[in-house]
């Protein structure tokens, strides 16, 4: 059996851990730049506040109803996420947890006797809340897709399910699938959902399960569709991923605080993102062979007409590297080529691909320790930045003023990661 553990309104829950006065009150969290709503509690949802709705449109409704609004505080959410995942690892074992996103993890429960699943699921929910203060929902089922189905239903009616649903019997699976609209099945996008409804009259997950895997292979995108139907039939096809599997591509991208028009600001932003991506690259012992820079413009005079256009250029490096300065050196000419005077840039980003293992890192016990100097420099920068925070050491190309930095006007304190920002208690 597999389980998925999903935190309830994760970002809002993190804020509530340190704001007990907001328990049972409506809370929302805004995206980078305070652009739109990316997390809302059930109370905010029942006020009619839309997920992913722009903040400036919802502002009236939020103020009217006294909704607590927060800018995103990724330092806090990242730390709380790690606590939740560590708690799960302690309960079921480190190798049984696959972190799927910041607030979700799959658990491999194949070693657990079926009659103990319900108790274990409840213990997981209770322990995570006790230790971290974060409420989670647990869905348990024979396959990943079915565990997602169970999880969604456990969240729908929290009072009846107490946030736990175990699909350990055929009739429970059938009932759950019947109550799951086709568009809500994990892996079925909106386009496929429309197609399944209009062409085949498939409205819920049960109807889809009753189709044959061969049918799915022809009409639902080949092997992916086939696997989906098999998963719904409780035949596990999507296996647990190795949690240490390294990424094939690394991307860093952010919205700007306000539109950028100067080449200098754009260069600084791209250099900063490159530094961040290079750090991620080194953390997984890789070197990148290709760097791509992209920029998003919005050239309309009206601030609210959003018609973004993306342009990108890439360059192949002479040899794969993980050194920040070598990557910045490749990235900056691309920025200059992309830049047009008079354009308003909303966003920029870089992706590193063509990743290969960085051989310069592997040491050999019997060969005198010959340190690659660049490697040593990068390690030193990473260590200083890791312990001092906030880009203590950086390349000048990344700038000092940072006119383009994002807006975070309503951010809470970094209660769990900064000594100076600890919660105060009387």
């Amino acid at each position: 059996m597999k389980a998925i553990v999903d935190c309830n309104s994760f970002y809002c829950s993190c804020e509530r851990v340190f704001r007990p006065d907001l328990l049972n009150k409506p809370v929302v969290v805004l995206s980078n730049n305070d652009g739109c709503i990316i997390s809302r509690t059930d109370e905010a949802k029942s006020l009619g506040i839309q997920m992913a709705g722009p903040y400036y449109q919802a502002r009236g409704l939020l103020e009217q109803n006294n909704v607590a609004v927060f800018s995103s505080n990724y330092h806090l959410y990242g730390d709380m996420s790690k606590r939740v995942m560590d708690t799960l690892r302690m309960i079921v074992g480190g190798d049984k947890v696959e972190v799927y996103s910041v607030d979700e993890a799959f658990l491999d429960l194949s070693q657990v006797p079926v009659n103990e699943l319900e108790n274990l699921a409840m213990e997981i929910r209770n322990t995570v809340e006790q230790w971290t203060g974060i409420k989670v929902s647990v869905g348990v089922a024979p396959s990943k897709v079915l565990s997602k189905v169970a999880n969604r239903l456990s969240k729908k009616d929290k009072n009846a399910t107490e946030c736990v649903m175990v699909l350990d019997k055929e009739e429970k699976v059938v009932d759950a699938l019947q109550r799951t609209p086709i568009g809500e099945v994990w892996g079925v996008g909106r386009r496929y959902a429309d197609k399944l409804r209009d062409w085949w009259g498939i409205y819920n997950a049960l109807q889809l399960r009753n189709m044959s895997p061969a049918w799915a292979a022809t009409h639902m995108g080949g092997v992916t569709g086939e696997r989906l139907v098999r998963e719904l039939r409780a035949e596990p096809c999507i296996e647990m991923k190795d949690p240490l599997e390294s990424k094939k591509m690394i991307a860093t991208t952010r919205m700007f605080g306000k539109p950028v028009t100067e080449l200098r600001d754009l260069r600084e932003a791209v250099a900063t993102y490159t530094s961040r991506a290079a750090e991620k690259l080194r953390r997984q012992y890789c070197a990148a062979g290709v760097i791509q820079v992209f920029v998003v413009t919005n050239n309309y005079d009206n601030n609210y007409s959003y018609n973004p256009q993306t342009k990108g250029l890439y360059s192949t490096l002479p040899r794969p590297t993980s050194n920040t300065h070598e990557l910045i050196r490749e990235a900056l000419p691309l920025v200059e080529k992309l830049f047009r005077k008079g354009s308003r840039y909303l966003k920029a980003g870089i992706t590193l691909s063509g990743l290969v293992p960085d051989d310069s890192i592997q040491g050999n016990l019997f060969v005198p320790h010959q340190e690659n100097l660049n490697r040593l420099l990068m390690e030193t920068i990473d260590n200083v930045n890791f312990s001092m925070r906030d880009d203590m050491l950086k390349f000048c190309a990344a700038g000092v003023a940072k006119n383009w930095k994002m807006r975070q006007e309503l951010r809470s304190a970094r209660f769990t990661t900064r000594w100076e920002e600890l919660m105060v208690v009387k």
């Binding site: 007990p20 006065d21 907001l22 328990l23 790690k82 606590r83 939740v84 560590d86 708690t87 302690m90 006790q130 230790w131 971290t132 203060g133 240490l244 953390r283 012992y285 890192i361 040491g363 016990l365 019997f366 320790h369 209660f415 769990t416 000594w419 600890l422 919660m423 105060v424 208690v425 009387k426």
Partner: protein, 143 residues
């Protein structure tokens, strides 16, 4: 380079060290005599944090617990996985407010007791919004 130390970005204790980090023990095996007594030193994280994902830090303002040796400006370590039994110093939540007090439970009553003559003990109203946020395990005081 110790792979495990790098991948697990959080603090993972100092149990893992290799021969490069022990200065005199080179690969020839001829180290200084003191190598036999090499220890890894005292690590406060290990001593003060029993359950890392459940451990939080908070700063105390005011004198409510000065009788227990917790003074204005001190940092307290809180372990949410410790059971809040009577007599423990806890972070309590009463009507949305966070308080540091000593918990006193009797068969039908819950009291939050300060450790200063300036404040009175609070009898927790059974209808109040009340919960325990966590149990205080250590206090860090600068002298």
């Amino acid at each position: 380079m110790d792979v495990e130390k790098f991948l697990v970005s959080g603090y993972s204790g100092t149990r893992n060290f290799n021969q490069w980090e022990v200065p005199t023990a080179n690969a020839t095996g001829f180290g200084a005599a003191a190598d036999d007594y090499m220890e890894r030193g005292i690590d406060l994280n290990e001593q003060l944090i029993r359950n890392k994902p459940a451990t939080f830090f908070m700063r105390v303002h005011g004198d409510s617990m000065s009788g227990a040796g917790i003074h204005d400006g001190d940092v307290v370590i809180i372990d949410r996985s410790v059971k809040a039994v009577s007599g423990k110093i806890v972070i309590a939540i009463l009507n949305g407010e966070m308080l540091i007090r000593r918990l006193e439970k009797t068969f039908n009553k819950i009291k939050l007791v300060p450790e200063t003559p300036k404040l009175a003990a609070i009898d927790v109203d059974p209808y109040a919004e009340f919960s325990i946020w966590g149990v205080v395990t250590y206090s860090i005081h600068s002298v």
